[in-house]
Amino acid sequence: MIGKLIIEVIASALGTIGFSVLFGVPRRFYFNCALIGAIGWLVYKGALLLGAGMSLAVFLAAVFIVLASRFTAVNRQCPATIFLIAGIFPLVPGAQIYWAAYYLVTNQFDSALSSGFTALKVMIAIVLGIVFVFEIPYKVFAIARPRKKAK
C-alpha cells in the first residue's frame, strides 16, 4: 500500500518533468515542477485514503498545488503559471475522458454520461482550487521572497 503510494508519487514527479519539457519550462525549474507534481498527487491520494470523494480530493490537491506554485514563484522570481500548468497535469481526468468516449462508442450511454460528468466534476474542482487560491493577496506569499543583498 505505502510502497504503491511511493511509486506513484515518484511517477507523478517524473511524469511532471516530462510535461515540463514539452511546455518549454527552463531546466532550472524542473526540480520545483517535479516537487509540486509529487505534492499534488500525495495530497490527492492522501485525501482519497482518508475517505474524501474524488472531487474533494482533486479540489484539495489543486489548492495545495496552487499554493505551492505561488510560493515557489515568489521564491524563484518567475511566473506561477509554469509550476501550475505542470503541477495540475496529474489531476487532469484523462482516464474519464477516455472512458466517456469508449462508452459512447459502445452504446453504453448511462456509463458514458456518468464518466463524462465525473470528468466535468473533476475539472470544476480544479477550477475552484485555482480560483480560490488566486484570490489570496500577494502579501501572504511575500514571506517566501528571497533575501535581497543589502545595498
Binding site: 510535461f19 522570481q77 501550475l84 500548468i85 484523462g94 488566486f134
Partner: protein, 296 residues
C-alpha cells in the same frame, strides 16, 4: 545626457544620438525626470507591444501581458500608454498632452506554448523595473533574442512525451508492461505531432488523428501481448495531447475577470478535449467493426 534648465528647475534628460546630432530641443516641463528621449515615446510603445506579443503568443495570462506592457511604458516615462489585450490581439494607443500619438493593432495567432519565453520576458521586465536598462534599444535587442530562442530539440520533446505518458500510466494504475506500451505510444504520438500534426494539420484534425493514433498503437501493443489493461495504457498515452496551458490560462483569465479571453481559451481547451475523445471513439468503432465483438 543633457541638462536642461527650465523655469529654475534642472532636469536630467536622456536624448538619443539622433536628436543630439540634429540639435533637436525638447520641452520637458511638467516632468520630474525623464529617462528616455522624448522622440522615443513611439519606440517605447512599440517595444512594449513586442514584449506583449511574445508573452501572449507563448501562453501568458492576459493580466500579465497588460502589466508587463504597462511596466515598460511607465519605466521609460510614457504615461499615456493604454492597452487592450485579447487572447489573440493587442490594441495599443498612446498620446496625451505632450506625448506623441501612437496607435497600433496587432493580431497574434494562437499557437503553442513556450513557457521559457514567458519566463525570460518576465525576468527582463523585472530587470527593467530595477533600472538595469537605460536604453530602450537594449530592451528591443533582448526581446529579439528571446523571440528567437531555439525550441527544445525534437528528440528531447519526443523522449519527454514518452516519459510523461509512461509515468502517467502508473498514476492511472497501470503495471510495468502497460507503462511500456504507453511510453511507446507517447513517443510515436509525439513523432506524429511534431512532423505531421503541427506543420500540416489544424488543431481539430490533428487531435482527432492523435487520439486515433494513440488507440491504434495501444491496441497493437495489447494484441501483441504488451500490457493487459487497455484503459490504463490509453489514459496515460493521450496525456501529451491534453491542452494544459489553454485550460489553466483560461481559468486564470476568467478568475481575473478577462471573460472574453478566458472563454476563448476555455473553448480552445474544450475543443481539443472533445477532438481527442472523438479520435479515441472513432478508432474503437473501427476496431469494433473489424473484429465484430466486445473488445475488452
Amino acid at each position: 545626457m543633457v541638462l536642461t534648465k527650465d523655469a529654475g528647475r534642472i532636469y536630467n534628460v536622456f536624448i538619443c544620438c539622433d536628436c543630439l546630432l540634429k540639435g533637436r530641443a525638447w520641452a520637458v516641463e511638467n516632468r520630474e525626470s525623464v529617462t528616455a528621449c522624448p522622440c522615443d515615446e513611439a519606440r517605447v510603445l512599440d517595444v512594449a507591444m513586442e514584449a506583449g506579443h511574445i508573452l501572449l503568443q507563448n501562453g501568458a495570462e492576459i493580466s500579465r501581458v497588460e502589466e508587463t506592457m504597462d511596466r515598460i511604458c511607465r519605466h521609460y516615462g510614457v504615461e499615456s500608454g493604454d492597452f487592450f489585450v485579447l487572447s489573440n490581439g493587442i490594441f495599443t494607443t498612446g498620446g496625451r498632452q505632450k506625448e506623441g500619438s501612437f496607435a497600433h493593432v496587432r493580431h497574434i495567432p494562437v499557437t503553442g506554448a513556450r513557457l521559457d519565453k514567458v519566463v525570460a520576458v518576465n525576468q527582463l521586465s523585472r530587470e527593467i523595473s530595477e533600472g538595469q536598462y537605460d536604453d530602450i534599444e537594449t530592451v528591443a535587442e533582448k526581446l529579439r533574442q528571446i523571440d528567437e530562442m531555439p525550441d527544445k530539440k525534437e528528440w528531447k520533446q519526443i523522449v519527454a512525451s514518452g516519459m510523461g505518458s509512461g509515468f502517467f500510466c502508473v498514476l492511472a494504475g497501470g503495471g510495468v508492461l502497460d507503462c511500456t506500451a504507453a511510453c511507446i505510444a507517447g513517443i510515436l504520438l509525439y513523432v506524429y505531432v511534431l512532423f505531421i500534426g503541427k506543420p500540416y494539420l489544424n488543431k481539430i484534425v490533428r487531435n482527432i488523428f492523435g487520439g486515433m493514433l494513440v488507440v491504434l498503437i495501444c491496441l497493437g501493443c495489447y494484441r501483441a501481448g504488451v500490457g493487459h489493461n487497455l484503459s490504463h495504457m490509453i489514459s496515460g498515452a493521450i496525456m501529451p495531447l491534453v491542452p494544459g496551458v489553454a485550460f489553466t490560462n483560461g481559468i486564470r483569465d476568467i478568475a481575473d475577470g478577462d471573460y472574453i479571453s478566458g472563454a476563448v481559451r476555455m473553448l480552445d481547451a474544450i475543443l481539443v478535449f472533445v477532438s481527442i475523445a472523438i479520435g479515441v471513439g472513432v478508432m474503437f468503432s473501427i476496431y469494433n467493426g473489424l473484429t465484430g465483438g466486445i473488445m475488452l
